[in-house]
Symmetry: C2
Subunit: 582 residues, 2 copies
């Protein structure tokens, strides 16, 4: 016996279809829910819903498993059947985290959770504490980044389905690794989204880059909010995930007195208390609004952290002058901006943005830097380049080493993108197989046009819908120990080790951080208590002060000289000094 | 010589047209502004702007005077020429206010500021402290409520233009009356809005009941926000207005880290400090969000007060069972709801609303009741009824006296709608002359359809665009001393006098207020320190306790009996007891 439920507030008649049998449902109740208990159904039963007089069976918006793809029937899945080995698991706190962003499909050749598990020891030894999975829910087609998911409660079968994810999380926990998951609550993918057949999941009131906004504030919004909150709670409760990264929260349109994010963070706190382990929420926000990570008691939304794009842009424009003045990089491009990002988090904290053509942001006054995630590469920053080339390919290994050095010595919680740690030669390109030819063509042509505007030859832009684009983006694990790859890997391992074992590098108080720089000579120093970081990104060697009693702990090159309290840094180098002996 | 300036960020060419002469403007500067100094122009010069190759001259979006109507040229106006007599004026604080909402066009037969001045002594003697003007800016047509204004910096010439408003404000101040003004920053009227020719004042990103939303957050938003902030500051600085009522702030769509309302309240505070008198901002908000009136330092928007619709709806459904279950009244209709409104402000404070079909609002925890404006009549509540009939016409004078008694004894800052104080017989109907026939027909037919849905005969619905509808809505000052009108006037005068001279009635602490009620017998009592208010809205007399040492101060009927510590209240009556001797 299985009891099926579905929210369909405007339907007049509902059935659940199992095989060729239609089982009428009772409803709707006051909140718009229908239900039917079916004697013959149970674990692993495939089912679909029939709405009113529509002859098409639709998958369950909350279907836990879509073994036949997003257009096919859903399958009943018993969360209690899995045997976990992570009893009394407590993940490391986010404040001390080193996050590794992973796309399951390209992390390994096989592109599955099972294959990814084989690399977990490597990540643990590298010093990673948290793995952040790009979205793993079901989307149409055989490959994709995951942001066009439509069956938001179902783990993609391409990666291994529900049991695959559970085995992956369990394997992470057994190695002391926490798992974060990227979830997309600001839109549904353009193909295979049947939720709107069932209820007012979307509203015409607001427009987003993907069309109608998610309905967080109008009639029916309670159940739409429940849909997303329940989704979040499911990952953490049933899949033992340790936290979520919420995609593009600036596209949540919600004027309610209790914002969706506030509701979600309150519910996650309750679950956290119940499960007796800390669960975290991380927002991707383009608003430069400290409210995101301000406690709810102080009028904020209570997210644990948010991504810090200003830091990326400030650092990237310093590393790579090619992008100066292009797109949003017009707002960056000086050491002064980078210094502001390091000390104030938001470069745009209530000042005019030329790119946006309006005043943007607000100061973070008093918030810990541990509420912000810092990175120089991530899936967007690599993948949204025309050919998905990585930092080392753009600026060379010496500058890439300086960049990751700054990230890992920064006050922010650092995030690495898969392969960054060994300067992977494989690109991360934009790939998305939509199983609708018109959509595939629209995406392909749109992308060519977008980059043609920046002077690219359209033929050079990889086709998102070709399997080769996906294949090309897979990491090549054979190269990790060779030459520059091995050099980078060792460098990253040392930096992470230093960060994780040095208390002053785990201090989130921005008042304790001092930055100096020279815009002309292009050097920057950062004092963090007993650690001084010196970087030279200029064309010439520079001589910088080493405070009395400080000595080098780590250097990105082996030709660094320390003479009479001065450090001589060749171009493209970084040195970390400490008052403690190494 | 006069220097003309205008914001037109996308124009390639701008001129100012004076008579037949075109004077080319310089610009745009970085912020999109153009300017031209014209030797021959000065005070009272009529001018218009020519944009690019458009042959139509357009009025200045910030035109200070539109003597030829909203489609015609603007006129230069010298704010410094007016001689004020209100030196060192300090208005009474909002916490002790009794507000009187006035529509200049219908307050007197002449419908002008000048005619309204003649009634100011009457309002002063009634005990009014603040006059709140419905919008007085320029709109197309010869009559209207004012919410379809398009020349937001120009005082409507129908009422007396800029000098008329100044004389009115000066006359109010000379009598100790403060002036609040209703301003509409959520849309422009549908006819005669030329702002969009000049710049991105609106955005497609969000839809409002009036179409595209005002652009508070996208490219160009800084100058759009300046437009509205400068407008607000102008009224208070140049017209000596004491505060503003912001129409429908829930239609402000603004995800910026610094919300438009927060910016505005910060700027008004600076002006307040500079002018050395307290300026206030009052929001009409449908969001039941205490953030509106929470100090900015505590994460709020820093409005001084907001309208409290829940209190109106809770009280109105008790008075008038006819509306029970209709429209938004479905959410009200019990003494329990009224008691909650009195003690908790928001009845919908995070609970499910059947009307809205979602959870609504948030508790006001700890905020003073003086942040909320209470009323049983206002322009919307009267005027948005099919025929604009007033409370006394709906429920009779006895119940209307109880209603205003509750309002004036409530913890909220009370607001009366013009004529309410004498149970005026004239209705306040919806009137709007759009000088575009198609718009007039659309509005007329829309209104008939709207009320036909509630069972009205369309022929009974007054035509908004007929002068008779406007004329019918004018107050008849001849009736104020007669019969029920005189009775009501005296009653309101006594209540206001009592409120203004009794400290415990000026206590905004909701913890000090106790309400009891009987849902069946339909009585309610309210304890406010040394004052007890007893109301009977049931069909039968009730006997309620008079605490030891309390005696009647005021009663709505003269057949109230107090015997052995009990007050016998006949139906539709209210008695105010006090521990002090009257």
């Amino acid at each position: 016996m299985h009891r099926f439920t579905v929210w369909a507030p405007n339907a007049n008649k509902m059935s659940v279809k199992i095989g060729d049998a239609w089982h009428p449902m009772s409803g709707p109740d006051e909140a718009g829910w229908w239900n039917a208990s079916v004697e013959s159904a149970g674990n692993n039963t495939d089912y679909a819903f029939m709405l009113d007089d529509d002859a098409t069976p639709y998958p369950d918006p909350r279907g836990p498993w879509q073994p036949h793809g997003v257009h096919g029937p859903s399958r009943v899945y018993d969360h209690d059947a899995f045997v976990w080995n992570d009893n009394r698991w407590q993940g490391p706190p986010l404040s001390g985290a080193v996050i590794y962003e992973m796309h399951v499909g390209t992390f390994t050749i096989a592109g599955t959770f099972e294959a990814a598990i084989e690399r977990l020891n490597y990540l643990f030894e590298l010093g990673i504490t948290h793995i952040e999975l790009m979205p793993v829910v079901a989307f149409p087609g055989k490959f994709g980044w995951g942001y066009d998911g439509v069956a938001l409660f179902a783990v993609n079968d391409l990666y291994g389905g529900p049991n695959g994810l559970k085995r992956f999380v369990d394997a992470c926990h057994s190695r002391g690794l926490a798992v974060l998951m990227d979830v997309v609550y600001n839109h549904f993918g353009p193909v295979g989204n049947y939720t709107t057949k069932f209820g007012p999941y979307l509203t015409h009131r607001h427009n987003t880059p993907w069309g109608d906004a998610v309905n967080f504030e109008e009639a029916g919004a309670d159940e739409v909010r429940r849909f997303f909150c329940d989704n979040a709670l499911m990952w953490m409760r049933d899949y033992h995930v340790d936290g979520l990264r919420l995609d593009a929260v600036h596209e949540f349109m919600d004027r309610s007195a209790i914002h969706f994010m506030e509701q979600l963070s309150a519910e996650v706190e309750i679950l956290s208390s119940t499960l007796e382990r800390k669960l975290v929420l991380i927002a991707e926000s383009d608003l430069n609004d400290p409210k995101m990570v301000t406690p709810r008691e102080a009028g904020g939304y209570g997210m644990d952290a948010q991504w810090s794009d200003d830091f990326h842009h400030a650092l990237f424009t310093i590393l790579n002058v090619e992008v100066e003045g292009k797109g949003y990089y017009v707002d960056f491009g000086s050491f002064e901006r980078l210094a502001k990002a390091l000390t104030a988090v938001f470069v745009y904290d209530g000042v005019y943005s030329r790119y946006r053509r309006h005043t943007h942001g607000r100061p973070v006054n008093g918030l810990s830097a541990h509420h912000f995630i810092g990175f120089i590469q991530n899936h967007d920053q690599v993948g949204n380049r025309a050919t998905g080339d990585r930092l080392e390919q753009i600026v060379g290994v010496a500058r890439a080493k300086v960049a990751i050095g700054i990230v890992l010595m920064s006050p922010f919680v650092p995030l690495l993108f898969q392969g960054e740690e060994f300067a992977a030669s494989s690109p991360f390109q934009y790939f998305a197989e939509h199983d609708e030819p018109a959509m595939a063509i629209a995406v392909r042509e749109g992308r060519k046009r977008e980059f043609a505007a920046f002077g690219w030859n359209p033929d050079e832009i990889p086709n998102p819908d070709e399997a080769e684009t996906f294949g090309r983006s897979k990491l090549n694990w054979d190269e990790i120990h060779d030459g520059k790859h091995g050099e980078m890997l060792e460098w990253v391992r040392q930096l992470i080790h230093l960060r994780r074992h040095t208390p002053c590098l785990n201090d989130g108080d921005l008042n304790h951080l001092k930055v100096k720089f020279d815009e002309d000579k292009q050097w920057l120093t950062m004092d963090r208590g007993e650690v001084r970081v010196l970087c030279n990104l200029g064309q010439e060697a520079v001589e910088l002060d080493s405070p009395h009693g400080f000595s080098p702990l780590l250097s990105s090159r082996n030709d660094i000289q320390v003479v009479n309290g001065k450090v001589l840094l060749p171009q493209d180098s970084i040195v970390i000094l400490s008052a403690k002996t190494a």
